[in-house]
Symmetry: C2
Subunit: 267 residues, 2 copies
Amino acid sequence: MAGTELTNVRSPRVKAARRLTKRAYREQDRKFLAEGPQAVREALKLDGVTLELFATAEAELRHPELVTEATLQGVPVHRASGEVMAQLSQTVTPQGLLAVCRLVHVALDDALPAEPRLVAVLAHVRDPGNAGTVMRAADAAGADAVIFTDASVDPYNGKCVRASAGSLFHLPVVIGAPVARAVSLLRERGLRVLAADGAGKHTLDDVDLSGPTAWIFGNEAWGLPEEVLGQADEVVRVPIYGRAESLNLATAAAVCLYSSARAQRVS
Amino acid sequence: MAGTELTNVRSPRVKAARRLTKRAYREQDRKFLAEGPQAVREALKLDGVTLELFATAEAELRHPELVTEATLQGVPVHRASGEVMAQLSQTVTPQGLLAVCRLVHVALDDALPAEPRLVAVLAHVRDPGNAGTVMRAADAAGADAVIFTDASVDPYNGKCVRASAGSLFHLPVVIGAPVARAVSLLRERGLRVLAADGAGKHTLDDVDLSGPTAWIFGNEAWGLPEEVLGQADEVVRVPIYGRAESLNLATAAAVCLYSSARAQRVS
């Protein structure tokens, strides 16, 4: 633990971290920010992922185990003033802990186990909160991987990292995959490719989900472009039993992923 | 349509609407704000709910059918400048349409049909976005009613109205119900009362959901207080198959509600 507190928001160290709030710099520096005790804890569980840790004095007192773990791993821990943390944080009420991490995604060809059972593909998801929530639901449902296509939001976006609640560090994540390549690989690996879309001919209740399945989720308005729908084996909708027009993307994805998880276990 | 545009953010009409962004004034005036074309459209489908409509010139051009419908219903339509709309709106990018509505909730005793099948209870939900998303999911899953207990967020909160995507106008909503009273009424009406909680002994997959069911959802950290857990017939958790610690509240609620909806239809 460094003895001196970082108080200057213009110091090179703070500026180097702060620029990671922008996608272009994340790509250039191959780093991103993971904010809050939950994200930091999960990052520290992976070898060599956490590169630096910023902590306020208060957060150090609240989470001494995380500071100790970082120190044991040889991760530089910088004590930061509240003002510095506010500069780095992308939340309204910063939680006082923020890790600089190396990017954790994997190549499409390396993402899947030998016999994948469940994969989530985010094809045109633009809202980072939704994308993070889908990652978390995919993790909870036991998915083997999450694939972000080239038309989707950056999973290293601060809001997405937060909404994933650590799941970004739990399962293989692919970014920037062209849809066609992802679909053909998934099919090659024995997965049936289902597109979730409100215009689907079949509902979740009509489809046999007991086999290995990849789900493609579209954008927030629940449209997947024709080119994507055309590549799927089936287009499936979540049935609407009441008067809602549709479901929120992340809740729809959770319903689909859990339907698969259950069908695979019950049958 | 009034010929003159409201441009003064200090005009009595604008101030009377603007104060409805605060819960205390909503309760006092018995009115709330519904923002955006989707909410306005759903509000206008109910008789006598929409009391006033504010619209920018641009929004009038984009949604002439809503302005026409309001006018047909004798609802005063005020053209508002962008500045006035920004004052009234609670979103970063206002959509130019905002209705002042009378409160639409019903009394607990009047909320349920003779033979209810599915009810959602929000017992300690504090995040308005989550609460609105649960309302939307309950509506989609065909729930008969949504009950907000006295420890939950106000469903008329602007974020909650938006996240509900019109569902606040679709099904009976109860507010401020004491948990014990809600539970005993639900049980009297033949519903089995299940508390959704990560500490549940049973998982969704172990429980027979084919009968009439009320789900109680807790706060964002997935804890329901002992007193609530103790009142439920069963405490049930969504199984976690992967490494996530838990699910987001709204996605967990959607998974539970859809599990019930399906079990009731399949069996």
